[in-house]
């Protein structure tokens, strides 16, 4: 069954939340962070990630593991914060008791002095002098290892019908709308960390990655909006087979 985050092609959503002016031109009225708590949510998530206790794929998986009802109702950064708490507890970095205690503390005006004092930094903490440098380096998923890619440009392929990761609700980057579909390899992209294992602490298992093109009419045979349009996805080798 299609999961809530796997929403590509879903019919249940309305207009894109944007506005046009009287000339029909797009109005760019975006703030980088609409509220200060959005900025905090992003920064705390990044700083927590830098503790090195989980991978990017695990943090995506944690968001996908929110109860579907919460995922739907939460705004973007609420999803981030809820899944961050779950990860922090799951990885035993904080305890349920601590969460309960601090939930009460922040509501209590008398505790502000306590919250404002400075604390000794853990050795894993991301130091401010490293932030800019580390962000400018990032963390590439590309791996220089010797695996021969099994496919080449022009190969006809068909994606698998089911997520190769059969952990119930396991992480994958093969969206359900592109499962069991015919496509063509247009580019080999090198060896990259495999999310289906990396999201479950089973290691990086780097594998060949390719861009696969799908005809619009293959993915959406009943739609006729524009049958000659193309959808491109980046897919790892276990996500597809040679089309015979």
């Amino acid at each position: 069954m299609k999961r809530v985050h796997d929403m590509g092609g879903s019919y249940e959503y309305g207009e894109i939340p944007v506005s046009l002016d009287s000339e029909g031109d797009f109005i760019d009225d975006e703030y980088v962070f609409k509220y200060s708590w959005h900025a905090k949510a992003l920064a705390i998530t990044l700083a927590s990630g830098s503790l090195g206790e989980w991978t990017l794929d695990e943090s995506r998986h944690a968001r996908e593991c929110l109860p579907p009802k919460d995922y739907k109702n939460f705004s973007y950064y609420e999803r981030w914060i809820a899944s961050l708490v779950n990860l922090l507890i799951y990885k035993k970095i904080v305890s349920l008791k601590e969460i309960i205690r601090f939930s009460k503390l922040v509501d209590d005006k008398n505790s502000q002095n306590y919250l404002n004092k400075s604390f000794k930094l853990d050795k894993r903490a991301w130091l401010s002098q490293n932030v800019k440098k580390d962000l400018s380096i990032g963390s590439s998923s590309s791996r220089k290892i010797n695996i021969k890619p099994a496919f080449k440009k022009g190969d006809l392929v068909r994606t698998v019908l089911k997520n190769p990761n059969t952990i119930q609700g396991g992480h994958t980057r093969l969206p359900s709308y592109a499962m069991g579909k015919k496509g063509v390899v247009t580019k080999y992209r090198g060896i990259h960390v495999f999310p289906d294992t990396n999201a479950h602490s089973f290691g990086e298992k780097p594998l060949p990655l390719y861009t696969i093109e799908f005809n619009f009419s293959e993915l959406w045979p009943s739609e006729n909006e524009s049958s000659h349009d193309i959808i491109c996805l980046d897919l790892w080798e276990p996500y597809f087979k040679k089309q015979t």
Binding site: H5, D6, M7, G8, Y11, G14, I16, P17, V18, F26, D28, V32, Y35, K40, A43, I44, S48, D70, Y76, I81, A82, V85, N86, L88, I89, V94, I99, F102, S103, V106, D107, L115, F119, W126, L127, S128, V131, L135, S136, I137, S141, A150, L161, K162, P164, I167, Q168, G169, G170, Y177, A178, R189, H192, H200, F202, L209, L219, D229, E237, K241
Partner: protein
């Protein structure tokens, strides 16, 4: 369906044999206050008190993404490609290193691919599974890019979606939708607007809108 692919990782096989349980659907977040601002404050306070986050780092991260890393970076890349054909070639063949020439590198842009709009092709970027986006050149994604509506509809009705952005693409053109399913990050190289031959790089960069680099818009018209 089990795949017989030889490169299939052993751990996945073990997972398929049911030896590993998943820890699905956590809801510990229900313990937090209901107001999102207080939720964030709760976690922030707890992590600060445990010394797990440096308060100066939090400020530094926010400052970088609020003021320094944004679509103005991507606009410089596009304007350079419009004026320097050799640079454009490097950008198409190895975008990550060509973009690094201008000093834009790092998180969520470790492997960038530039896709070029032409007379025949209009490219548009989406991430249906989450919100992948090329941060070093475009910054933090706008809220519409992260919206469920954009994520759900762009791969199924791209032309209707584009019309909601005020963009009508000629039916003779092919629309290419790029769903960011891996860690590759996509940037659209829009077509240079007409009547801009006399503009320099800096002037050109002011015509490059964020949406034109995602594919949901075009550069500004020069009058």
């Amino acid at each position: 369906m089990l795949t017989s692919n030889l490169s299939f990782p052993g751990n996945l096989r073990r997972m398929q044999m049911g030896k590993v349980k998943n820890n699905n659907h956590h809801n510990h977040h229900n313990l937090l206050p209901s107001d999102p601002e207080l939720r964030v404050k709760t976690i922030e306070s707890l992590l600060l008190s445990k010394g797990l986050i440096d308060p100066d780092s939090i400020e530094e991260i926010i400052d970088l993404y609020e003021n320094k890393i944004g679509p103005q970076n991507g606009a410089k890349v596009i304007a350079k490609a419009w004026t320097d054909n050799e640079y454009k070639k490097r950008l198409i063949t190895n975008a990550t290193s060509a973009i690094a020439e201008l000093g834009f590198t790092g998180r969520q842009g470790e492997n960038i691919i530039v896709v070029e709009n032409t007379e025949k092709i209009h490219n548009i970027i989406v991430c249906t599974l989450c919100s992948c986006y090329p941060w070093p050149v475009l910054g933090i994604p706008p809220s519409w890019y992260k919206s469920d509506e954009y994520r759900a509809r762009t791969v199924r009705e791209p032309r209707k979606v584009l019309e909601e952005f005020g963009l009508k693409i000629d039916s003779n053109k092919i629309i290419k939708v790029w769903d960011s399913t891996s860690e590759l990050r996509y940037l659209v190289l829009p077509q240079r607007p007409n009547n801009t031959e006399r503009l320099n790089e800096e002037e050109l960069s002011k015509l490059v809108t964020r949406n034109s680099m995602i594919g949901t818009g075009l550069p500004k018209v020069y009058k």
